[in-house]
Structure formats: structure tokens, C-alpha cells
Amino acid sequence: MPAVQEPTRTGRTTKQNFVVALALHGIIIGGIIGSAYVFHKTGDAWGDKADVTGAVQATMVSSVPLPPKVQPTTDNVLASESPSPVPPPPKAAAEPPPKPTDIPIVVKQPDKKQPPKTAEAPSPKPPEHPQPAKPQPDKAATGETAGLRVAMTAVENRAGTSSTNVADSAFGQRYAYYVRALTQKVAQQWFTQTLDSGAPGHRVYISFRVERDGTPSQIQIAKPSGDATLDASALRALQRIDTFGPLPDGYNGQYINVQYYFDPKQ
């Protein structure tokens, strides 16, 4: 049998192994350090060069176009944010302590009147809560702006309902377009950011005159709402307006009286 020759192997001494291991470690460490030099970031990190640190540049808006608040329907109890008119569950009536004669003790007592059966204490009737009055709809159910009823147009805007009532009813019928434009112009100028959303929504009635050339004058609060912020915001809306446009040519008077209500719907 021929001898199987084992291939000669150059044995590595421990020292040699150690050196090789050291070299490999060195390469790896040197590579990490080297890559730090090679990949060193020059230039600015994101955001370094900005002149204004932090906040986004402010944008100029004269009024924030808030999305229209969806009015919660009070018909559907589940969808309402305000407490529903469902009466609270009746209070559990306190059980009257049992009278000693409730439990009949069988005692041979002839002619003893049966212990009067006490009727169960009637649980008190649940207190009746006054049902909140359903708000009268002030615009057509289909959502379109109110038709041209006598001298009254309502405009639904993002903040609430504004309505004009022109004292001279013939003007509103004859020049409905002017009343509509007037309503819309005031609604546009009514900024509601300062209004308190938690305050109860009352109406403020402002009366003013529109002169022949369209400038509003004699702006007054005809009926305050009880909320000073709302009153002030309504007054300022009118004061902001320079002109509504000249009164229609066919109208003979020198001015029209307008009563305008502002109603912030919650």
C-alpha cells in the first residue's frame, strides 16, 4: 500500500497568528478612522444656513379661511356635542327600611288583623328636564341662500349667518342685487378670530345708513348681544368698509337704512 503522503503544512506559530490578527484589526480600525476623514461632511447641515432659525416664515393673511364649522344636528342625539335632551336615568330610590311588621310572623293570634301590607315606596318620578327649544332654521333647508323675501336676504358664510333687513322694503325687492352685494361685502369683512367659541351665540344687530355714494355712516349697535367681543367685531367689520358702491340709479332717495345681524353659529 503506497503511503499516503500528507501534504506538508506550514504551521503557523502562535506569534504569527497574533501578528496577523493584529494586522487585520489594524486594517479595520484604520479603515474606520480613515473613512471618518474621507467622508467628513463639509458644508452646512440641513438648516444651518437659514437666516431665521426655527420657525417657518410667516405668511401674511388678512383673514384665515377657516373651514366652515359643521353645525351639529340636534335631531340626531348620537351626533350632538351638547348634552342630549334625554332625561337622565331615574335615581335609584332608597329602599325604605323594612318595617318590623313586613314579615309576617306566624303567631297564632286569632282575630289579629293582617299586618297592613305596605305598598312599595313609589320611586320618584324622574325630574322632567326642559327640552331645549329647537332653533328655528333661518335659511332654506336645502342649504341655498334664502330667496328674495320681502327686503330680507341671508348669507351663510364661514363664520355664521349674516342677514340684512333693509328698512325700505321696496328697495330690497327692486334692487335685490345691491342688497345681496352689501350683505356679502360685510360678511367678507367680518373677522371672527377674536370671537370666543365658548360664549353663547347671541345675535348683535347693527344699524347703519348707506349714503348715495355707497359709504356707510351712522354705524350703531341697534341691539347688543350681551357679548362685548361679538359687538366689537361686528362694529369693526362695518368700519373697515370704504364703500358699497353707489346706490342704484333708479333709486330716488338719498340713503338707505340697513339693519344687519351677525350670528356666530357654534
Binding site: S35, F39, M60, V61, P65, R158, Q173, Y177, Q184, Q188
Partner: protein, 445 residues
């Protein structure tokens, strides 16, 4: 960014065994672009084709219809029904129109403008009516008759007048701009002259013919004179051209460089003059007498503009702190307030309602910065600003329209400049005048 990626890839290839994190540099682009939509409904109006009377009026009637339609569309206050969505009928008189057709269906217009156009004894006669489609009892809003010469110009004039009247009655009380003019610099043949055109770009014609460099035209509030700066024998001087007399009128010369005249609503003139050695703002009357100096600081003070609402404030560009910035002050020079804080700002214009300043601004100015000069709007009271243009080129020389809804400006520079217009919220940009037009100025009325 692509260069960096190539370098990174090369480095990655060189070091396979190493786990190196390469974070690409992100250059955040900060553009602010918002609109000023207040959410109110715009009036929906339909402009019917007018009924033509005689066959020879057909061509002029077509011009009239087109111009009326574009005027109502340009106003920025109407929701104009497109011609394909409205009934094809051409009612000529209030008795002929069927309001139900126009108020419902796809048209759904709140108002209809219609009428008749005919030529009578060499004059174009237009009877125009505007009806309210939702008011069956009293539909008529407007009923007017116009007469002009029976040519292209006459038809355009009638259309402009009618559009202005409709905008005044239905657009919230502010008169229309259809009859306003834009004065601008036209470069050609080695010289720059002052030209004028209608607000929609038509009728462009030369106003001056001096054969030299004339820049920064400004028309007076009563449309009688145009003041501009012209290069004469002794440098740039303020010159005034009378539109009524059709010739130059006198304005006193002064030493130094005199630039950028600006009219106030009551006829005073503010301009920049370097007669003292350093450009300062001077205020004089309309003929140049009683000039008095109102700024007093080192660094150039140029491009003044008045507050059109009050006439008691001036906005101008001052380089007193280095790069030019926007400042405002009272007419006597007191109450100097700085409005911009960085970059390179030029050509400020004050809005007719006194609330806004429009100016050209290069916010990232300097070596290595991305640059880019655009039109910005700034609220005077709060100093908050919006960027109106972006990426259409180098924008400069904004000028407000008299209704405060439009801004005209120049895009490009030098011989390749064009005059563009847009609504004051940055939408509706389109070109008014072709290459070689620069430095536009919208008239007061």
C-alpha cells in the same frame, strides 16, 4: 446634489468593507406661496354675445364681444360663465331674454349682460343691459347706451366702459380698470423710449421720441403728464411730458443723477437726486419748484413711492445699512421704519388701499446663494410677507392697479425683459407686452 452623489459613489466603491454612512446634503427650498382667498362666493355672471344689427357691424361686434368677455374675466371679481356653457341665444332687449335659461342648468348665472350692437350713421351704438336672473319681478340692474366712432378703437372703448360699469355695480363698489393705461419703457434701436398701452396690452404706442435713454415713467394722477428720468447732456434728469399738449414741459435741471420720480395723489413729486453727492429723496411740486430734501443718510436712497390712501407717507429703498432694503417714513422725513431685514430689495410700490407694499426682493443674495428675485407682498401694519412669483425669471418693478387687485411687473432683464400682469394673490399671470418692455407703471385711473 448630483455631484455629491457621484463623489459618494466613488468613495463607496473605494471602501467596500467599511460600513460608512453617507448622508446626502438636503438643500431645503423655502418657497412661500399662498393665496388670499377669503372664501366668499364670487358673483357668477354670463356675458352673452350681443345682437348684431347690420351685417357690416359683425366684425366690430366680434371685437366688442371678445373685449367685454376678457375685461370681465380679468377683473378678478367675477366667476365668468364660459362661452360654451351658456345658451347660444343673443337677446337684444330686456323683452327678448328668457331668464330661466340663463339662471339655471349648466349656465347657473346670477347676472347676464346682453344687448345690441349696431352701426348708425357711422357711429357704433350699443344698448347694454344687465339682468338679475333670480329676481323675476325686477330683473334689470343696468341699462345703458353707448355711442362711439365705428372702428376697432371705438368698439374696444365701449366694451371697456361697459365692463367698468358692470364691475362698479356688481363688483363691490370699486371702479373697474378697463380704461386704465400702463406706461412702460420700450427698448429698441439703441434707445429707450416711454410707451403706453391699454391695461390688457392692446394699443401699444410710443409717447416720447427723445432718442436717448428714458426710464421709470410715472403718469400723474389726473392722467395729464408723464414724469420720467432721461439721460441728457448733464446726466440723468427728471423730465415731464404733457399728454394734453403732446410735448415736453419744463422741469428744472439739477446736478447729479435724478431718478425715479413718483407722483402723490395730490400732485406732488418725490424723486431721488444725488445733487448733494449722495442720492437722497427730494419732494417738490408737480413743476419741480420748492424742492426740499427729506432723507439725510449715507448710502443711496432711491425709488420713492407715496401712500396713495393718505398721501402722508413715503416708502423707498435705502442702502444705509448695506444692501438695499425697504423703508417707510412720513413726508417730512420723520418716523423712519425699516420693513425688510435681509436680502436685496428694490422697486417698492404702495397699494391703493394703503395696506400693502409690493416690491422685488432677492432674499438669498450674495456669493454662492441661490439668488432669484421675485415679487413679494408685505402687509405694512404687521410686516408679514407673501411671495407672489416663483420660477418665472427675474421679476422686477411691480406696480399696483387702481383697484388694488392687479399687479403689473417686468420679467427678465435688459433687452429680453417683458411686461406681465397678475392678480394680487399671484394667480392669473399672463404677458402683456413682448421683449424689450420694462419698468411698467399703472395709471391712477
Amino acid at each position: 446634489m448630483t455631484i455629491r452623489i457621484q463623489q459618494s459613489l466613488r468613495r463607496a466603491l473605494l471602501s467596500l468593507a467599511l460600513a460608512g454612512c453617507i448622508a446626502p446634503q438636503l438643500h431645503a427650498q423655502d418657497n412661500v406661496f399662498t393665496g388670499t382667498n377669503t372664501g366668499a362666493d364670487r358673483v357668477r355672471i354670463a356675458a352673452a354675445d350681443f345682437r348684431g344689427g347690420t351685417p357690416d357691424a359683425a366684425a366690430l361686434k366680434r371685437t366688442f364681444d371678445t373685449v367685454l368677455y376678457s375685461d370681465l374675466g380679468n377683473a378678478g371679481v367675477f366667476d365668468l360663465v364660459s362661452k360654451s356653457m351658456q345658451p347660444q341665444a343673443t337677446p337684444g332687449a330686456p323683452a327678448e331674454i328668457r331668464l330661466a335659461d340663463w339662471g339655471g342648468g349648466t349656465t347657473n348665472a346670477a347676472f347676464v349682460a346682453f344687448g345690441s350692437f349696431s352701426i348708425n350713421a357711422g357711429r357704433a351704438v350699443v344698448s347694454a343691459y344687465v339682468d338679475d336672473t333670480h329676481n323675476a319681478q325686477f330683473p334689470q340692474v343696468l341699462g345703458k347706451q353707448y355711442t362711439e366712432a365705428a372702428d376697432e378703437n371705438g368698439a374696444r372703448t365701449i366694451a371697456h366702459k361697459l365692463a367698468d360699469e358692470i364691475i362698479l355695480r356688481l363688483g363691490g363698489g370699486i371702479p373697474g380698470i378697463a380704461e386704465s393705461k400702463i406706461y412702460y419703457v420700450h427698448a429698441g434701436g439703441g434707445s429707450k423710449e416711454i410707451w403706453a398701452m391699454d391695461y390688457d396690452g392692446a394699443n401699444a404706442h410710443a409717447v416720447t421720441n427723445l432718442g436717448t435713454i428714458s426710464i421709470s415713467p410715472r403718469v400723474s394722477p389726473d392722467n395729464s403728464r408723464v414724469a420720467f428720468s432721461s439721460l441728457g447732456k448733464y446726466g440723468f434728469q427728471i423730465r415731464v411730458f404733457s399728454l394734453l399738449l403732446n410735448r415736453m414741459v419744463s422741469f428744472p435741471d439739477s446736478s447729479g443723477t435724478n431718478l425715479s420720480p413718483a407722483w402723490s395723489a395730490n400732485g406732488q413729486l418725490a424723486y431721488s437726486s444725488s445733487r448733494s453727492g449722495d442720492p437722497e429723496i427730494y419732494v417738490s411740486d408737480g413743476s419741480g419748484n420748492s424742492a426740499r430734501r427729506i432723507t439725510n443718510s449715507r448710502g443711496p436712497d432711491v425709488s420713492p413711492t407715496w401712500n396713495p390712501k393718505t398721501g402722508s407717507q413715503l416708502a423707498w429703498i435705502s442702502g444705509r445699512t448695506g444692501l438695499p432694503q425697504v423703508y417707510i417714513m412720513d413726508t417730512d422725513g420723520a418716523g423712519v421704519q425699516r420693513m425688510t431685514d435681509t436680502g436685496y430689495a428694490t422697486s417698492v410700490s404702495w397699494s391703493p388701499n394703503g395696506q400693502f407694499l409690493a416690491f422685488a426682493w432677492d432674499r438669498k443674495y450674495g456669493p454662492g446663494a441661490p439668488g432669484g428675485q421675485d415679487i413679494y407682498l408685505m402687509d405694512v401694519a404687521s410686516k408679514k410677507w407673501i411671495q407672489l412669483t416663483n420660477g418665472i425669471g427675474r421679476c422686477d418693478f411691480p406696480s399696483w392697479s387702481p383697484d388694488g387687485r392687479h399687479i403689473v411687473f417686468a420679467v427678465g432683464s435688459g433687452a429680453r425683459a417683458e411686461v406681465w400682469t397678475m392678480l394680487a394673490d399671484g394667480t392669473g399671470k399672463h404677458k402683456l407686452a413682448g421683449t424689450g418692455s420694462d419698468m411698467p407703471n399703472w395709471s391712477f385711473r
